[in-house]
Amino acid sequence: MTGTAGTCPTLYAVPNESSPERALIVVPAWNEEQTVGDTIREIRVALPGVDVLVVDDGSTDRTRAIARAEGVMVLELSYNLGVGGAMRAGFRYAVRHGYTAVVQVDADGQHNPGDVPALLAKLAEADVVIGTRFAKDDRYRASGPRRLAMVVLAKVMSRLAGAPLTDTTSGFKATGRRALPLFAEHYPVEYLGDTVESLVIALRAGCRVAQVPTTMRPRLGGQPSHRPLKSAIYLCRATFALLLALVRRWDGAIGEPAKPQVTDITDEVVL
């Protein structure tokens, strides 16, 4: 189904293959006022000179004000769209402004900005690079049904990708220039869509997916969901999301040009 992989469809408008690398860090943030400032400062220290775009996903707290005060670009979504929607907005901004790579760094401080260069480097051989939590050390441990879900997902996705993928639900991901236009148009917005389904879409479009070991840190704020019932529900939903992703058609199948949905809002404005 995924074919022999190799190249992402070139039918999507790809910025000049030889254009210089321009990375954009996208930070989806929903009510993360406690951690977003630290996250931004940390990114700045680890990656001086790299553009940062905070996507404020309809926060009701001071998230956007804090991000603004840090002087980074802020996309203000009018209401909560979920991580998938926030990321799609980020991808679309990146494509409109000629970025060649996007790295998602969560605002809760779980992702270590110090790992971003490793992800970007790996983009030389893949179109989507996952920063995985399990390959390096096991400080981040899940248990019970949640762990089972992760293991099953990893097995299935590795098979699809033809490469070992140990952590398919990691949000820490780098997207290269060939997968960017695909994600800008088709990034899934539903539950787990931003992780599992997006990988399936990338693979089905012929993108190469690889992983890089990273160290996940405990969240600076917010609560991880590790209660058994919640984990069981997670298992069911993850399985369902995977099955759905596998059988789903999405407009813009390989071989036919992606049709613009809501038309380009303005002609390309590069600032």
């Binding site: 996507v55 670009m73 203000e76 979504l77 907005a89 917005v189 809501v262 303005t266």
Partner: protein, 121 residues
């Protein structure tokens, strides 16, 4: 005879309600036709109760009310499915608009900042 009157008044009220919604432009045309047909059918069936028995005998349903329930349920399931579909589509559209709006807002800000810098120079 009394129940006949109640049924007649009821179905006429439904029809009037649909018509009024349509007249106030509260119901878009694609749904209006559907509900108008339903309303009219309802009135016709109330005025001629014999019609339903004759139809059910023709299709081989022994109890006329069962035919009515069956058709009604199939119809309602269809409507619910259609509405879910319509809702998903609308949600997708509003999501895109929200994304577009956010992107444009940022671009306008950037443009304004750039213009201000240019003027100061």
């Amino acid at each position: 005879m009394n129940s006949y009157l109640v049924a007649l008044v009821g179905s006429l009220l439904v029809l009037a309600g649909i018509f009024e919604l349509l007249r106030r432009r509260q119901l878009s045309e694609k749904y209006a036709v559907l509900w108008l047909v339903v309303g009219i059918l309802l009135v016709v069936l109330t005025i001629f109760p014999g019609l339903l028995s004759r139809i059910s005998r023709a299709v081989g349903v022994s109890l006329p009310s069962n035919l009515l329930f069956f058709v009604g349920i199939v119809f309602l399931v269809g409507v619910a499915l259609h509405l879910s579909w319509e809702l998903s589509r609308l949600e997708n559209e509003t999501r895109r608009l929200a994304e577009d709006l956010a992107i444009l807002r940022l671009e306008v800000q950037q443009q304004a900042k750039k213009t201000a810098e240019d003027e100061n120079r």
